[in-house]
């Protein structure tokens, strides 16, 4: 049985790798599941759920802006009346280099959290079933489009919901990776091909390094190196201008990840920023 299934899978893969065939194999390189932070749903209170993607060794999936290649993971929700799903709360990504390209994504396991608004009228229900159609691109060196149709059924209870012990730590860890809006102002400037992002030095707070992940194509050259340094009262990250960074562009949106030393390892803190342009930043 197992044998037959793996043959079938190999057959699908081979068939798909030839140009004329239609549907790719689902979930060969990345396993998807839908999990909830709590064991029940409380009417009128938001619920936190996650698309859990577990990629095989060496494989990865993508962030909201995937970088030079790849594709952001998508979730299409089908929910009971009155329920509403928010956008994916993307954890800060890794930088993944492939030849002359740089991508932004996640190796191994990632939780893509989504807040579901639960209507007060849900009290009329015994259980609720959430349906999600997830589409993602799994890549190692090569890429395979994968998808899954997932459902999650939870009991409805007026009592404050209990955390699901199986997932509590994973949700907490995922939340720590989700960028918060930066409480400090940032500016950027362009001079020739150099684009410099500048933050108050106090904001970097002893960070060993800073990484920048743009939210959109063309702001920076993704594959070019980024150089972090302190300059008087500013923390400056020098990068290379992207193809769309013309003189008319006045804002730079992205995620700043600060790397701190802690014990033997590192701790990351991420912030979402929209930097205003000031070419005298350089």
């Amino acid at each position: 049985m197992i044998m037959r299934r793996s043959w079938l899978l190999a057959g699908c893969l081979l068939a798909w790798l030839t140009p004329a065939s239609a549907s790719p194999p689902a979930e060969t390189f990345t396993h998807a599941s839908l999990i909830a932070e709590t064991r029940s749903v409380q009417p009128g209170k938001p619920l936190s759920v996650a698309l859990r993607l577990e990629s095989k060794d060496g494989w990865h999936t993508y962030w909201r802006y995937p970088g030079d290649t790849g594709l952001a993971t998508k979730i299409a929700w089908r929910l009971p009346n009155g329920f509403r799903a928010g956008d994916i709360e993307w954890p800060a990504p890794e930088r993944i280099e492939i030849g002359p390209a740089a991508n932004y994504g996640y190796h191994g396991e990632v939780l893509l959290l989504t807040k579901i608004d639960v209507p007060a009228a849900a009290s009329a229900l015994k259980t609720v079933t959430l349906n999600a159609q997830a589409d993602w691109l799994a890549c190692e060196k090569i890429c395979v489009p994968e998808s899954a149709t997932l459902t999650l059924t939870l009991p409805v209870s007026d009592a404050a919901p209990e955390k699901d012990a199986r997932w509590q730590e994973k949700f907490s860890a995922a939340r720590r990776q989700i960028p918060v809006p930066a409480p400090w102002p940032a500016t950027f400037g362009v001079h020739g091909d150099v684009l410099a992002l500048s933050l108050p030095a106090t904001a970097s707070d002893g960070a060993q390094n800073i990484l920048f992940f743009p939210h959109e194509y063309g702001a920076i050259d993704n594959a070019a190196p980024q150089a972090f340094g302190l300059h008087r009262d500013r923390a400056v990250l020098k990068m290379t201008r992207g193809e769309m960074m013309t003189e008319q562009v006045k804002h730079l949106a992205g995620t700043v990840v600060m790397v701190f030393k802690s014990g033997g390892g590192t701790v990351l803190k991420s912030f979402d920023i929209t930097a205003s342009r000031n070419d005298r930043t350089l």
């Binding site: 140009p19 790719p24 002359p100 150099v194 050259d221 594959a223 070019a224 302190l230």
Partner: protein, 210 residues
């Protein structure tokens, strides 16, 4: 594949390093072609063994299409017939269409000349020629990052478009119907004698398998 963690920089030495970085960065960016500038000249050999030099096509519009038939994004445009349709429509107007295959031997999409010929026949490709670039020379010269990645050179040899084939990054066949095709739009602008309205766009697809 490797994940690059950025080199951390000691605060005391940072400015010397930044100066070094500026030189390095302009070297990287300077190698990439720019819209409005002469398209970098190259000589390539096609699947039939014929040589093509870009400069020899001065007087014609040239489209460059980076390809890899095993990439799901390329598959979207060939399985739906979209790419072949674009190629045929462009060539009918006298456009030279060069597909470029920069996959290295042993990498996804690499084809020997005979295999490349057979594939073109099988998928009814309508390009002028398929340039085989197993060393990635032409690909790197153009900074080609994705398959597909599209470039258009006008009759004077100036690069007038670089970027995606359309505005819908996906592998979904259905999206071909609703996407705005940037290559068609650029060729129409050129034919109408107006500057290309979208001269640069986001290329999307698989990485080029150099």
């Amino acid at each position: 594949m490797k994940i690059m963690l950025f080199r951390s920089v000691l605060h005391g030495t940072v400015f010397g390093l930044i100066m070094g970085f500026a030189v390095l960065a302009s070297g990287t960016a300077g190698a990439a072609p720019a819209v409005g500038k002469p398209a970098p000249d190259f000589t390539g050999t096609d699947a039939q063994g014929k040589t093509h030099r870009l400069a020899d096509y001065k007087g014609s519009i040239v489209v460059l299409e980076w390809t890899n038939h095993q990439c799901p994004f390329v598959d979207k445009h060939y399985a739906t017939g979209n790419m072949q349709k674009l190629q045929a429509a462009a060539r009918k107007k006298g456009v030279i269409w060069l597909a470029v295959l920069s996959s290295a031997p042993g990498e996804q999409g690499y084809l020997e000349p005979k295999e490349a010929q057979a594939l073109s026949k099988k998928v009814k490709a309508a390009h002028t020629a398929k340039i085989l670039d197993p060393k990635g020379t032409v690909g790197r010269l153009y900074g080609a990052r994705t398959t597909p990645h599209m470039y258009i050179v006008d009759k004077t040899g100036t690069l007038v478009y670089m970027g995606g084939i359309d505005d819908t990054p996906s592998t979904d066949y259905d999206d071909v119907k609703t996407a705005k095709n940037f290559v068609t739009a650029a060729l129409d602008d050129i034919a109408g004698g107006t500057p290309v309205k979208t001269p640069v766009s986001r290329p999307y697809g698989c990485s080029v398998k150099y």
